[in-house]
């Protein structure tokens, strides 16, 4: 568990401009609410307003809810990332931890208000929004037009980039999310996700280690099955 000071310093270093005056820093600091949550906990955020959440440690998922208990994982987030959690509209959103996590929670409106005249902070918010938008658009393509195999392959390639580590020359991923979370992220069922893992394993493209470990044996083959565009436009 990180102290509030450690967390805020890390946040400020990554998302606030270096030149910000002490009093300005303090104002942002006073908006930050530290949340130290165990594994698999849904944050009780006020659904009436937007929030901004900084991940100090751990891993989280942002989930959208439709009728009949159907859930869609809209995004996963990892340490040092900033997420915007939308207020409830036609659907509602919840943020949950995948593992024990340290988070800083801000009310979006208050944060944006403090930032309204600071270009550097605004740029940081804009960067955050743009990278979330770009991942969200990729996800639309995956959900709308890809087969189950392609979805899992795309997912694994994406996770390799974000949380993969090199080990014996191969990429290794320690997935913090369950099969259910993967299914809810890819618009599939847990059974289908499991079958796709089996297929990739039988093809020798990945190796699974326990429930959460994945070794990418043949990244090229995985990318080839992800449905990416190959030839020039």
């Amino acid at each position: 568990m990180m102290t509030f000071a450690e967390q805020f310093d890390r946040f400020a270093q990554l998302h606030l401009p270096a030149h910000l005056g002490d009093d300005a820093i303090l104002r942002f600091r006073s908006l930050a609410r530290p949340v130290d949550a165990a594994r698999d906990v849904a944050l009780g955020l006020d659904e009436g307003s937007d929030h901004l959440v900084f991940v100090s440690s751990g891993a989280i998922k942002l989930v959208a809810h439709a009728s009949a208990g159907r859930n869609q994982v809209v995004a996963f987030h990892f340490p040092d990332e900033l997420v915007v959690v939308p207020a409830r509209a036609e659907h509602s959103y919840t943020l949950s931890t995948l593992r024990k996590s340290d988070l800083l929670v801000f009310d979006y409106a208050s944060f944006a208000d403090l930032a309204r005249s600071d270009p550097a902070v605004l740029r940081s918010l804009l960067d955050t929004a743009r990278s979330s938008l770009s991942r969200s658009r990729e996800k639309s393509l995956t959900l709308g037009r890809k087969t189950a195999t392609e979805r899992l392959a795309s997912f694994l390639v994406g996770m390799a980039h974000r949380i993969g580590v090199e080990r014996e020359g191969l990429t290794f991923i320690d997935l913090p999310m369950s099969r259910r979370d993967i299914a809810d992220s890819l618009g599939l069922t847990i059974e289908t996700v499991s079958r796709q893992f089996t297929i990739l394993r039988d093809l020798g493209i990945v190796r699974t280690v326990g429930k959460s470990g994945v070794q990418l044996v043949d990244l090229r083959a995985l990318e080839a099955r992800a449905g990416y565009l190959t030839e020039a436009a």
Copy 2:
């Protein structure tokens, strides 16, 4: 067709701060490239960089491309809206007109560079990104977890909000996009979209007028079929 001056004035009024100095305005103006495109034309944007496009008139679609010719309409945009068109990454994106349109095209990097110290312009970009992100997340839920009927119902409710007009007390929509575009937006085939229209028509929820007109006879019933969250969280 609108003149460049008309288009830029409209753009500036909506997306640039009122107090901006004349020279600053001129700099933004010099970045704007007017594009007057006929119906169903793909804009030839350099795929190597991001672009910012303002819709002066008409209607456009942003399409993501996967392998094997599969397309996903990632967003539709209408007059007065600003869109970010991403550079090519694992997938490529194209912007096409749905009807004859007047557009202003900016290179994103140049625009952002000019805006980098102006909080008001940055806030405008941030608003654009946030509303695109929020629509994109809703779309993920639709594509990942909704049935064909719910997808079409959600689509029609959304279009009603964006381009619907009141007529004889009912909402009327003149859809600028074809069944193929709707299918590519909802992750379905044109046949399924057509069948869902037939179902909604037979239920008396909508009435179709020609190929593009849709009269929403019973908006409540349509919303009820959209898979929205109903009860309190």
